[in-house]
């Protein structure tokens, strides 16, 4: 509960933060909301020599509703995502998800950028950005790059971010009208994180699925896209049978994690049940 000693710098620009990261290749850590990093410091699971606080970096704050895309700054807190009317008018799934994420104190400090960069296998936002087909904007010493969310998560707590890169924003293509969303989550009784979380976006046209996408978290080492199930549904009506088949397909193709609380079979079952229920919700 008492972190080891560290230095602290409050960066005022992305350039400065990146320079600091580059100059301290082993011992520096970015801190945004601190709600993942600080507990790790207190338990001495992490002991960086330098904390680079990026909360004052204006360039990666705020939500912009553009012509073709919605852009969410990495520093946007969970509460801001929930509170923003313009954002939720386009993507109500943000409020629906934030509501199920932690508690008000954590939501007031924790950021979506921190959550994605941390890549906790049970975090909520990864499933959402996957289902929304987001692009992640990353800034580093050599410039900017954009990575599809699908390629961002590599393993447990591992992403494509290089040590001297910063996740700057999340860019989501605006949806076609009529797209509907759902996020369902089974919480771990202690941590409140997802044992399994399912985010879906579905657009119906003439009684059949025109487009569907599915993001799953909690089940495996990192959040992933349920591609096969989504493809299976495309062009089909959301009947009970089709839903069951999609859910079964997704569940059977997922190599689930096993832990003391929830064995792999249980997680696989939740993937099936929760996807089924989410689709059923949207079919009505």
């Amino acid at each position: 509960m008492i972190p080891a000693a560290f230095d602290y710098v409050r960066a005022s620009s992305l350039t400065q933060a990146i320079e600091l990261l580059r100059d301290n290749p082993d011992g520096a850590k970015l801190v945004a909301g601190g709600h993942t990093l600080l507990p790790a410091l207190k338990l001495r699971l992490a002991a960086p020599e330098l904390l680079i606080d990026i909360r004052s970096v204006a360039e990666i704050k705020g939500i912009e509703i553009g012509e073709t895309h919605v852009k969410i700054g990495a520093l946007t807190t969970h509460s801001e995502l929930s509170a923003s009317e313009p954002l939720n008018n386009v993507f109500p799934i943000f409020r629906e998800t934030a509501r199920l994420l932690a508690d008000p104190q954590v939501r007031n400090r924790g950021t979506i950028g921190g959550s994605l960069a941390n890549a906790d296998p049970a975090a909520d936002w990864p499933a959402v950005v996957l289902a929304l087909g987001a692009q992640l904007e990353i800034v580093g010493a050599t410039g900017r790059r954009t990575v599809p969310a699908e390629d961002f998560f590599l393993d447990i707590f591992t992403t494509t971010l290089a040590p001297d890169e910063i996740l700057a924003s999340i860019q989501i293509p605006k949806p076609k009208t009529g797209t509907r969303y759902a996020y369902r989550k089974i919480r771990h009784p202690a941590s409140g994180f997802a044992v399994v979380g399912v985010a879906i976006a579905v657009r119906m046209l003439d009684g059949v699925v025109d487009e569907a996408s599915i993001g799953i978290t909690g089940a495996t080492n990192h959040a992933f896209v349920g591609k096969e199930a989504a493809e299976f549904l495309t062009g089909k009506a959301l009947t009970r049978d089709n839903i069951d088949e999609a859910a079964r397909m997704l569940s059977e193709n997922t190599e689930c994690l096993s832990d003391r609380y929830a064995p792999a079979e249980y997680r696989a079952n939740l993937v099936r049940v929760e996807l089924g229920r989410a689709l059923l919700e949207l079919s009505q």
């Binding site: 089974i186 202690a190 609380y261 064995p263 079979e265 249980y266 079952n269």
Partner: protein
């Protein structure tokens, strides 16, 4: 709410007087204390469950910035301790427990070395520099494994890892077994829990200029801590002052003697400076006592009409690596003595074995033994109902101890006596509040639609406020059963009451004042309650075992009466009438049938202190102290009911309703009483549904080391609890109260388990062990479904 003079305060749902300060963040806890020159202690804890300590190198730690002292166990061995339990069931083998391990560690978290530094951060940095070489030994964490012949042995003087054998016998179980229509066996596990107080433990020991020592500690039992610290650190008890400020929850965990309680006083005297230690949450998980951790084998002999003829119980109580303060009493007296619950089971036989394992010591936790005892009785009666396919309510009715049976000694016991109660009436009230018939029908109807609802019932009784003192000796309980109260009236007629009880959230400042206000007939605002300071409070045993109203409250009641008796004598002198003609009502002394003007209590108080006109032989002052030793123990009882829906696809349990009807004798304050029920029920629901300490049975590592993996109940986990009461006054004390603090945590676990089992009955599932987590329930349903498919 204000109460006009003359109205009774007892029975009023007053708000807690202490809440404003606590809610406004103005409570004062040990960690709020910052004394000049204060040093900080940090403890290095064993990372192994069982190991020999080969060497400890403190040199780097000693050289680290700010470090004043770094010590290992060998430097302390002759100075402090060992730590001895306070309750030792006769015949127990007591392993030696050093304050800091010397040659061997026996659980993950056991203290191995310590550092005292000028800041907390420096102390933590320095313990990271201590190098310890261990030779790891095989470990055993589960009670069933520890009693096997080939199990690793923890202590030389505890062969087979069993410290205590305890037997109870009444009637003739073997005969009952032969004569019964049926006999069913059942193994039930009472899951290990972590008490999880909001405020973790903390202690500050401060040397005073006059050579005495003040110890600030969040203690449920300040006077007991004074005695234990004095004896173990070898400080004359009268030179030790123990102060317990506000406490953020105790639940039993803060009534034991821990190494840190001894180290801070010792080190403060060595270094002649205040020394603080404050427990982190992760330390709390691996060093503050755990609770429960039993396995019981039951054998139930019953007839086809549902009547239980006999019960045989075999208990294994896991007490961790050493005998903590009360450890031998929990799985024995406190558990198996109560194994027949509210039922008339005349042929009873129980054997309890107290087992050491390589885990955190297990000790009292809200209910201590009584939840385990009630779980035995309740799971047994439920098994009978399930086995015979009889209504769970009807089976209870047929077996209940009847109202006319009280006082009742179950199975002819000499140690257990239930003083009063009426279980049928409790059950009727609960059924009505719950709408049992309606919901029974609802459950049946919904099952057709694949909706699985279930009703749980649990009845309980137990005994509170261990007393009288002379009866505690044979059980090896090395303390008294009395409580003291000093009612000190000042010269304005206001009262300061010094009580040996110790609130840790129960609301004594309100409830004890209500008791006194009725006798003294002065407003509540004119009464202050002082607790938690051995320099101010004459003596006491503190708060545990739901004893504070029954014993502490009674002592306030009796000493308040003594004050009035003396005041009456003084008033008679002032009024120049005979004492027996004086009566006291509405805060004034009057002489009925005369026109003598009433004399207020405050005028009499003033006279007591100026002493100008006191009757002959009456000493000045209005100040009475009573050491009240009850004649017996009150037995609270209750019936709780739960309504749940289980989602068979996910195993998730939704609690739709919870009804608690409790008989805790006279209610001092119905609001606080309901609060006690709510808190206990919440803890009980958590035990039933998700709380559980896990150890890796190979390595002995604590797997639930933080609140990320150890689930404590939150608002989202619990339903609205509907609490109501029946009041059968206890004949064992002058105010008729029984204990209440533990009721909820005793009743709720079996109640919840029964509700879930009822919901799962269409699947033929008859037993599941707590906690009934969704994965566990789902797995049980799946195995049935797969069995069906085959």
């Amino acid at each position: 709410m204000t109460i006009s003079q003359g109205t009774r305060h007892v029975g009023q749902p007053l708000k807690r007087r202490e809440d404003l300060k606590l809610l406004a963040g103005r409570g004062r806890y040990v960690d709020d204390l910052k004394l000049p020159g204060m040093l900080y202690m940090a403890i290095l804890r064993s990372p192994h469950a069982h190991a020999k300590i080969d060497s400890i190198d403190l040199s780097l730690a000693r050289a680290a910035p700010g470090v004043r002292l770094a010590l290992s166990g060998s430097a302390l061995e002759d100075r402090i301790g060992p730590i001895v339990p306070n309750w030792i069931i006769p015949g127990s083998k007591v392993p030696v427990r050093r304050v800091v391990a010397t040659d061997r560690v026996r659980f993950v978290g056991e203290s191995v070395a310590l550092v005292v530094a000028e800041s907390l951060a420096e102390a933590y940095d320095a313990i990271g520099l201590i190098e310890v070489e261990y030779d790891v030994l095989p470990a055993v964490t589960e009670e069933q494994d520890a009693v096997r012949g080939d199990a690793p042995q923890l202590h030389e003087n505890v062969p087979g890892n069993i410290t205590t054998f305890y037997k109870v016998k009444g009637g003739d179980y073997e005969k009952a077994n032969r004569e019964a229509d049926q006999v069913v066996k059942l193994r039930v596990v009472n899951n290990r829990l972590i008490p999880t107080c909001m405020e973790t433990r903390a202690i500050v020991a401060a040397p005073e200029p006059d050579g005495t020592l003040t110890v600030y500690i969040g203690s449920q039992v300040p006077h007991m801590h004074r005695r234990w610290i004095a004896e173990t650190v070898r400080i004359p008890e009268h030179q030790l002052r123990v102060v317990a400020p506000d406490i953020g929850g105790g639940f039993g965990a803060k009534m034991h003697l821990y190494p840190e309680d001894l180290l801070c006083p010792y080190l403060a005297r060595e270094l002649n400076a205040p020394v603080k230690w404050w427990e982190t949450r992760s330390e709390s998980h691996q060093s503050t006592s755990h609770g429960r951790a039993h396995t019981e084998d039951l054998e139930i002999a019953f007839n086809n009409d549902g009547r239980i003829l006999g019960l045989k119980v075999s208990t294994l109580g896991n007490v961790g690596a050493y005998l903590s303060n009360m450890a031998t009493g929990g799985p024995t007296v406190n558990t198996v003595n109560f194994g027949t619950g509210t039922y008339k089971i005349e042929n009873y036989e129980a054997l309890s074995r107290v087992v050491v394992t390589n885990t955190v010591p297990v000790d009292a936790y809200r209910g201590y033994g009584r939840p385990e005892g009630a779980y035995i009785a309740e799971r047994a009666i439920d098994a009978v109902a399930r086995h015979l396919n009889l209504d769970q309510v009807e089976v209870r009715r047929r077996n209940f101890i009847q109202a006319s049976d009280f006082p009742y000694r179950p199975y002819g016991s000499t140690g257990v006596m239930y003083d009063s109660g009426d279980y049928q009436a409790l059950l009727d009230k609960a059924l009505e509040a719950f709408d049992y018939e309606g919901r029974r029908g609802e459950c049946e109807a919904l099952r057709g639609n694949g909706i699985y609802r279930g009703i749980g019932v649990a009845a309980y009784t137990h005994m509170c406020g261990m007393a009288p003192s002379r009866r505690l000796a044979p059980g090896g309980f090395d303390r008294g059963g009395w409580e003291s109260a000093r009612v000190s009236i000042d010269s304005s007629g206001r009262a300061t009451i010094y009580s040996g009880s110790m609130s840790q959230g129960q609301g004594h400042a309100t409830s004890l004042a209500q008791i006194a206000a009725d006798v003294l007939q002065i407003p509540l605002e004119d009464i202050e309650i002082v607790q938690g300071d051995t320099r101010q409070v004459q003596a006491g045993h503190g708060t545990f075992n739901s004893r504070s109203m029954a014993v502490g409250g009674s002592s306030v009641h009796v000493s308040s009466h003594r004050v009035i008796t003396k005041a009456k004598t003084i008033a008679a002198g002032m009024l120049e009438v005979d004492e027996k003609d004086v009566s006291y009502s509405a805060g004034a002394f009057t002489v009925p049938g005369t026109d003598i003007a009433p004399l207020t209590f405050s005028k009499v108080a003033r006279m007591a202190y100026v002493g100008h006109k006191l009757p002959d032989g009456v000493a000045p002052g209005l100040d009475e102290t009573v050491f009240y030793d009850p004649t017996g123990m009150g037995a609270p009882s209750g019936v709780h009911m739960a309504y749940v829906e289980v989602d068979p696809e996910t195993g998730i349990v939704d609690i739709l309703d919870y009804v608690a009807v409790d008989d805790v004798g006279t209610l001092i304050n119905p609001r606080l009483a309901a609060g006690q029920i709510h808190g206990g029920v919440v803890q009980g629901i958590a035990q039933a549904l998700f709380e559980e300490v896990s150890y890796d049975s190979e390595s002995g590592q604590l797997l639930t080391g933080s609140l990320l993996d150890y689930a404590v109940p939150r608002a989202e986990h619990v339903p609205n609890i509907r609490s109501s009461f029946q009041q059968t006054p206890s004949p064992t004390n002058p105010i008729g109260v029984k204990g209440i603090g533990e009721s909820g945590s005793i009743a709720a676990p079996p109640c919840m388990v029964h509700a879930v089992l009822d919901a799962l009955s269409p699947f033929g599932i008859k037993h599941l062990d707590m906690p009934l987590t969704p994965p566990r329930i789902w797995a049980a349903i799946r195995s049935v479904r797969e069995g069906d498919a085959r």
